[in-house]
Structure formats: structure tokens, C-alpha cells
Amino acid sequence: MAGCARIGENTMETRKPYEQTYYPPVPTKLTKFFRTNIFYQFFRFVVLNIKMLRMVRKH
């Protein structure tokens, strides 16, 4: 099982080739910023609610 590196700790010690956490894609700083940006998330809140209502209407 792999040892785990916190993303952003870019040292040789935390780079673990051939282990499970070496391969998955990780979000950039910009992606992480938008995940908790109030204005963008308010927009996503509206979009997600519409998506879910579409789903409910399909029943």
C-alpha cells in the first residue's frame, strides 16, 4: 500500500512513483479556488438545483 503525499509538498520525499497516489489527477490551485469561491458556487448552486429538478421530473 502506498504512502501518501499531501499535494503541494513537492519534495523528493513525498514523490512516490509506482504507488497508488502517484497517478490520479489532482486539482490545480485555480480549480480548488473555484470550489469554494462564493460567487462561482452560488452560480453552481443554481445549476445543480436545476439539474436535480430535471431528474425529479423524469420520475
Binding site: P24, R44, R54, K58, H59
Partner: protein, 530 residues
């Protein structure tokens, strides 16, 4: 004031008062006439709908049925618990973000308000043909309230909905569960105890001790990976909030073949120019949050500091822990069933896992032969047409994820989840079908609610905070993959999506209040969808 105008206003007020009194009299008189005609003269016989269980499915069915049935019919609910629990929020109780009393409310006042008869009791046995004394079907219950504890009673019914939910089968794994060496968030009481254990662990970490936390599934046949997933990321978020994250090693252990399976075989979504499997996004989140994972594992034993598990390759392995929150496998609650002459027919009415057989195709099939049509549509028992089972209580025809076995023949794959949304939808449709039959509008169930033709929206919390919390928001259609209609991925990519962000946390918080509001049958409760 002009005397003429004053007289006009007084006259108008008197007229309005008289009209309202007449209206009230008219309403009461109509009600009396209705009661007399339909209950006493025998134009329409009173019928009784009995619902076993008051969880998401049971409560949904009870409220809809009560609303659609006149006072000439009875709705009776039997539940061993005196409180209703919004189970999806238990994970927040398990981290201390919510208190146990914030996810429950007493059932009796709601039933009193809505005119539903309530017995705080557990169902013991079903007698669908009655007994030697009477041909009326009944269920034997055993009271669990303080005043009547241990007393048995027969509750007669015309229609029965089994919405008993699961038995938390901790005994399937040695040492599993709050009475053993692991914790749980399956009930609000378990979650409350788990929160205390977590806070005690945090105190140790604050003193500089390193701790290992293991979260996941406690058996090779578990379901509900989503709940364990939510708890995992909420714990990680809580440890960051308490500034002890670097002292914690967090490990996910699961019976899924790959991360992101969730018991539904995972799902594909269109993102960034690719059709991508949920495995990729889930692994990304685990890596981002520094969480290790063990998949394809059947937990065999939990001791105070060690978890033993078998891998899909058949290897026996162990992992050390200081804190383990492992979900148990589910089974039916163990209801028995008897014919009129006392012959036991439990195995006819129920599958071997004690879930109730309904209108599904239970013939043994290879994975390649699974079809969406295998899944039930009306949830009606094939043996007794007045018995239905909804929510977790019905027996699925097979898994959704591909069955996998170790070389020792140990099954290591998730059983199908039946989350709140599909449970609510099927409960509503079954309630509508039964009320139509009771009201004489139909002779057989007309409405369908197959999981193969139903979508689901799922919000999985990944950290609770109004400003920096996140949740994974997923939608999928259909729940059961249909490779005939959607050959590439089994699901409609227009309706299947997933993203992580603060908006998901807001939605989950909103749903917490909305569904508790609905379950309390407060005004306009029907506006809140299932």
C-alpha cells in the same frame, strides 16, 4: 365618518360573518353525511393500510396514503422507534458538527396531527391468510414503548407495506460494531458515540500522539459505501479544522473493486473532453486529501487495534488502527410468515437474506445476462397481492456491481444501495397504487417505480462548513445501468454528472431541513420532492 358609508361597512361585515358561519356549518354537515354514508351504511367498507417501519420509505408512504385516503380508511404505522431519524445527516453527528437531537423528532405528535394510528412496536410475524379464528390477515407486533414493553398484539390489515429497512448485521464479522471493537454512524445514537470517540482521539493528537483511523466497510458484502465515504471526508475536514491533520494517518478500506464504485458499478461522466469513470475523480479526491485506500477487501475480524481482511486474491492481511468506523452488512429484519394453518412460509415470502420478495426476476443469472427488466416495478408480493415492500426492505434481484470472488469463494463486492431518493419515490408510488385500490379507482397497481427507469441525485458531504465545506453532487439516470439503451456506459450522459464544491454542501444542508420539514408533515410538505 359618513353614516351611510358606516352602515354599508357594517352590513358587509355582518354578511361576511354569516357566510363564514354558513360555510363552516356546510363543511361540518358534509363531513357528517360522508361519514354516515361511507362508514355506517356500508356503501364503502373501511379498509386499513398497515405500514411496517417509519424510516424514509415508511414515512413517505404513510403521509401520502393518509392524504389520499378519506377518513373512512385507516393508516396504521408500526415502528420500534419513537423518533424519526434523517439518516443522511448522521455522518455530521459522527463528527460532532450536529448534535443527535438535530437529526431526529418524535413521531407520535406528527401522527396525531395527521390522523395516523401509531404503534411503537416491532413486527414479529406476518399472517397473510389470518389464522384459525379469522381469515383477516394480520401482523403480530411486540410493543417497545416503556408503558407496553414486551406486550404482543395482532394488528389486522387489508393492505400491508413492509418498509422495515435493514437489520444492521454486525454479527456477520467478528468484533464488528459498537458492541465490539469498531464504531458506526448507522443510527443517531451510534453516531453520537462515534463523535465522542473522535474527539477523544483529537485530544491525543493534540498531545502529539500519531493515530491511525480506518473508515469503510466491515464485510465483503456491505452496501452504503457512500455513507462511509462521506464520513471519511468529514473526519478529514474535522481533523484539519482542529489542526491535527498531520498527526493522523487515514485509511479507507472497502469491498469495492475500485474507488468510486459505490455499489452501482461506478458511473461515467462527461468532463474536460473525456468520458471519464468515477474511479478517476474519486482517486483524485483521496490523493488530494492525503488518504490511503485498500479496496477489494473482505474484513474478517476487528480487534481492539487490528483489522484482519481477505483480499480478492485470497491473501490474509492485517492493518493496525486506533479508530475504526466500519459499516456493517445489511439483512432483512427477520420477519417470519405463517399460513392460516400455522405452516411457516417465511422462505416463500422472503429471500435468504430476509428481504421481501416482490415482482422482480429472482432467477439465477450470470452477470452478462442481467437486464433492467429484472428489477421490480410495483413492489407487490407475487404471493399475496395486498403485500408490498419498499426501500431497503425489498429483495433486489441481484447486485449492480459485478460479483467478484476470492479464490476461497469469498464474495467481495458491494450489494445494491437503495438510497433516500429512490426509496422515497418507490414508497410514494406504492402508496398511490394502494390508495387507488382502496378508493376503488383501480384493481391492480398502475404506477411503476423501477430503479431501472429512475434517476437519483446524491449529495455526498466532503467537509461541513458554510464557507469552506465541500460536497460531491452526483446525478445519474438510470440507477440500474441499461446497456441496451446506452451501450457505452449504461447511463444517459445528459443526466449523469458529478462535481465537487461548496454549492453541494449548501444543498445538503438545505435538504437536511427540507426533508425534516416534510417528514413532520408541516404545511405544503408535498411541495418537497422525494
Amino acid at each position: 365618518m359618513n353614516p351611510f358609508l358606516y352602515r354599508r361597512i357594517t352590513t358587509l361585515c355582518n354578511c361576511a360573518l354569516l357566510c363564514s358561519l354558513l360555510l363552516k356549518f356546510y363543511t361540518v354537515a358534509l363531513d357528517k353525511i360522508f361519514q354516515t354514508c361511507f362508514n355506517k351504511s356500508g356503501l364503502q367498507n373501511m379498509a386499513r393500510l398497515l405500514i411496517l417501519g417509519a424510516g424514509i420509505a415508511g414515512q413517505t408512504a404513510a403521509l401520502h396514503a393518509r392524504k389520499r385516503l378519506g377518513r373512512g380508511h385507516e393508516v396504521v404505522v408500526v415502528s420500534p422507534n419513537s423518533k424519526w431519524n434523517w439518516i443522511p445527516s448522521n455522518i455530521w453527528v459522527g463528527t460532532g458538527y450536529l448534535k443527535p437531537e438535530q437529526v431526529v423528532f418524535p413521531l407520535a405528535p406528527v401522527y396525531q396531527k395527521t390522523g395516523i394510528i401509531f404503534h411503537q412496536a416491532k413486527a414479529v410475524s406476518i399472517h397473510p391468510e389470518g389464522d384459525s379464528g379469522s381469515a383477516t390477515p394480520f401482523v403480530t407486533i411486540e410493543h417497545t414503548s416503556e408503558s407496553k414493553s414486551g406486550q404482543s398484539e395482532n394488528v389486522y390489515y387489508d393492505y400491508l407495506i413492509n418498509a422495515t429497512g435493514p437489520k444492521l448485521n454486525f454479527s456477520a464479522t467478528k468484533g464488528l460494531g459498537p458492541d465490539g471493537n469498531s464504531l458506526s454512524v448507522c443510527t443517531y445514537l451510534h453516531a453520537g458515540e462515534t463523535a465522542k470517540a473522535l474527539q477523544s482521539l483529537v485530544q491525543k493528537m493534540k498531545k502529539g500522539e500519531k493515530q491511525t483511523l480506518i473508515i469503510g466497510t466491515g464485510h465483503g458484502n456491505c452496501t452504503c459505501q457512500g455513507a462511509a465515504f462521506e464520513y471519511l471526508f468529514n473526519v478529514e475536514h474535522e481533523l484539519r479544522r482542529q489542526e491535527v491533520r498531520e498527526k493522523a494517518k487515514i485509511i479507507w478500506i472497502s469491498n469495492e473493486q475500485e474507488l468510486g464504485d459505490f455499489g452501482i458499478g461506478g458511473m461515467h461522466i462527461s468532463r474536460g473532453g473525456y468520458i471519464t469513470h468515477s474511479k478517476i475523480f474519486t482517486e483524485s479526491l483521496y490523493t488530494e486529501r492525503g488518504i490511503e485506500w485498500i479496496t477489494r477487501a473482505h474484513v474478517k475480524e476487528v480487534t481492539k487495534n487490528e483489522i484482519s481482511y481477505e483480499t480478492i486474491e485470497g491473501e490474509e492481511k492485517t492493518v493496525q488502527h486506533d479508530f475504526a468506523m466500519l459499516l456493517p452488512p445489511f439483512s432483512g429484519v427477520g420477519l417470519k410468515a405463517f399460513r392460516k394453518d400455522g405452516t411457516e412460509i417465511t422462505t416463500d415470502l422472503f429471500a435468504p437474506n430476509s428481504f421481501m420478495k416482490v415482482d422482480a426476476d429472482y432467477s439465477a443469472k450470470a452477470y452478462a445476462d442481467w437486464r433492467p427488466e429484472d428489477w421490480p416495478k410495483t413492489y407487490q408480493s407475487p404471493l399475496y397481492k395486498n403485500i408490498f415492500a419498499v426501500g431497503i426492505a425489498f429483495a433486489p434481484p441481484h447486485a449492480i456491481s459485478k460479483p467478484m470472488f476470492s479464490p476461497n469463494k469469498t464474495p467481495i463486492f458491494p450489494t445494491p444501495p437503495r438510497t433516500g431518493m429512490p426509496s422515497g419515490v418507490m414508497a410514494r408510488q406504492v402508496a398511490f397504487n394502494i390508495t387507488d385500490m382502496m378508493n376503488g379507482k383501480a384493481e391492480a397497481p398502475k404506477r411503476h417505480a423501477s430503479m431501472a427507469n429512475m434517476g437519483a441525485a446524491c449529495i455526498a458531504s466532503a467537509g461541513a462548513n458554510f464557507f469552506n465545506g465541500t460536497a460531491v453532487s452526483m446525478t445519474m439516470f438510470p440507477i440500474i445501468p441499461d446497456f441496451g439503451k446506452y451501450p457505452d456506459t449504461g447511463r444517459d450522459l445528459q443526466y449523469t454528472s458529478g462535481e465537487i464544491g461548496l454549492a453541494g454542501h449548501w444543498i445538503k444542508h438545505f435538504l437536511h431541513y427540507a426533508f425534516i420539514y416534510k417528514a413532520k408533515a408541516n404545511p405544503l410538505w408535498r411541495v418537497v420532492p422525494e
